[in-house]
Symmetry: C2
Subunit: 336 residues, 2 copies
């Protein structure tokens, strides 16, 4: 009887060990402190408090998993947007590649300026110039071909100041934030003014965000048969601009429900932040570029990522302003 | 020693039982035969063979989980489209509700015909009439308000022939197919010519498909402030028609990658089926409405869901044609 009892105890003990190991394995993600590249400032606390509230069943801030939608602007929020947008660097390179087939570009802005390295001259083309540039560099091929062009460009194109690949210019604290939200049941989306098909080839690798969770500006595509093979041709026609007031419209169109978390860094995110925080428990954060040493310091006067109105209203609207210099231990993964 | 050995054996046995129970629990979804409302015909076999191949690691047909995207047309593929589209029934009811505010409708098609019960007269408005109808009944309110209007309509509106709620007019075998695909790691989408915001309020409940996995036609929305509260207003302007050649374009725009499985029932799905099956392992199926007793029998001559060209080419293109009468044990859940 003593042996049998001891044996039962050992069975119980071995089962308890098995259960413990299973539980410990399942929860290992929670064992380490979240957001390791964030300093222990109020910004981090506010984020963690919000996320904890959304997952605390029975609590006032609880949100069911299917409604845990988080949206992130891309340029200046997830990766650098200085000295100009990544997609603009791509467009510049495309202009240089395509120039031999377009002699007329030598006398037409913005192409002339781009080819002569005179960006200020190129900027004189204004909004019409930007439309011309997008249509000249982003259309006139199939979607598959454009995907290849973009993927090849990202494989080698480098940032003009750091000499790092553009794909290395992502913010480590934001990648940690994406991971942290997903570990807590959030579905993470990009909502960017950038072209949706420019971002999709790299978002999974850079941010863990699959193509179907990227919302962006679109140009029209047209179904056609190439030698009887169905393809989609990219037309030189901007279809939807997912920027400013277009961001809530884009979210509504692509996702079909309102996020509870939104991150941006410029006035182009203002309407999105307003819309998301108009209903509870909407949480909004603004990345404020305050670190001229490790990245760039800019806000109200910047040509790219101008942050003015949203910064003025942030405090009253209870939007978290993240001070990159003070709140982030590390900005880029490649930093020492 | 004998006792200790027996004890070890019992520990091993109890662990094996624990593991067995865990495994059995995890795989209980596979314990029952899939697609119970399908007859044991070639159609069912082809679907099951395809799905098994996509999940068999190391096999020739294996597809990684993230690429297991399946798209379904809605009208005539997931729910009935006769004697007219569900959304048209909704539009008719909206016209009747709004008529007192629009005396001009008494002399203008398609409104006149709708109000007088003269659908043939209404149809004389042609394509322009349809656009007018959509814009008159689907715009001029916020997205939240439209969501409420649609939800309320679905709660009570009934099919003119069966007297069942429109939401009961879904095909049970197709709901089983959606479940079966999801149980095998597929992400299921609707890709419909219908309005995306007309479908989203009910797709989760009817099909287990969340709002962000519904692709459809869109009308433009505009961000605005109502008493300083941000809203999206639905404008009387059709933005994108997700039908025919628009379906591959819509998939590319919303999802950003090509599905490996597509189901449709009419020539409006033709380009989608061509595009999906242009690359391996693309699988396509067509629901052929052959059951005039239990549902409706129609194809080449139908005003709604005309199936002609796609039916002609199905065999040569290796598209599975599902014969509703022969292949489905039950069409609607409410059948005896």
């Amino acid at each position: 009887m003593g042996g049998s009892c001891q044996c039962r105890n050992r069975i119980v003990a071995s089962l308890l060990v098995a259960i413990f190991l299973a539980v410990a394995g399942g929860f290992s993600a929670f064992a380490q402190e979240p957001l390791p590249s964030w300093n222990d400032t109020a910004a981090k606390s506010r984020i963690v408090d919000f996320v904890k509230a959304t997952v605390t069943e029975g609590g006032q801030g609880y949100v069911s998993p299917e409604d845990r939608i988080a949206v992130f602007d891309n340029d200046g929020t997830l990766w650098t947007e200085q000295p100009y947008y990544t997609e603009l660097a791509f467009a510049f390179d495309r202009v240089k590649t395509l120039a031999p087939q377009h002699p007329e570009w030598n006398s037409k802005q913005p192409f002339k300026g781009i080819l002569e390295g005179d960006i200020k001259g190129a900027a004189k083309g204004g909004e019409r110039g930007i439309v011309d540039l997008v249509e000249a560099t982003h259309a006139g091929m199939t979607t598959d071909h454009f995907n290849d062009i973009v993927s090849n460009w990202f494989a080698t194109a480098k940032h003009p100041k750091t000499g790092k690949l553009w794909t290395e210019m992502t913010y480590l604290p934001m990648r940690e934030l994406l991971d942290y939200l997903r570990a807590n049941g959030f579905k993470t989306y990009i909502v960017s003014g950038g072209g949706v098909e420019f971002m999709r080839p790299v978002t999974k690798r850079l941010y863990g965000i699959p193509p179907e969770q990227v919302v962006g500006s679109t140009i029209a595509t047209e179904y056609a048969l190439n030698d009887d093979v169905p393809v989609l041709n990219r037309l030189p026609k901007i279809e939807f601009v997912d920027d400013g007031p277009g961001k809530p419209a884009g979210i509504n169109k692509f996702i079909g429900r309102k996020p509870i978390f939104a991150a941006g860094n410029s006035d182009a995110d203002y309407e999105m932040l307003r819309w998301v925080t108009a209903t509870k428990p909407g949480f909004a954060m603004i990345i404020h570029h305050t670190d001229g040493q490790r990245e760039y310091a800019y806000d109200r006067q910047s040509a790219f990522g101008k942050l003015d109105k949203a910064l003025d209203e942030a405090e009253n609207r209870n939007w978290l302003v993240v001070d990159m210099k003070a709140d982030w231990k590390k900005i880029f993964a490649f930093e020492q």
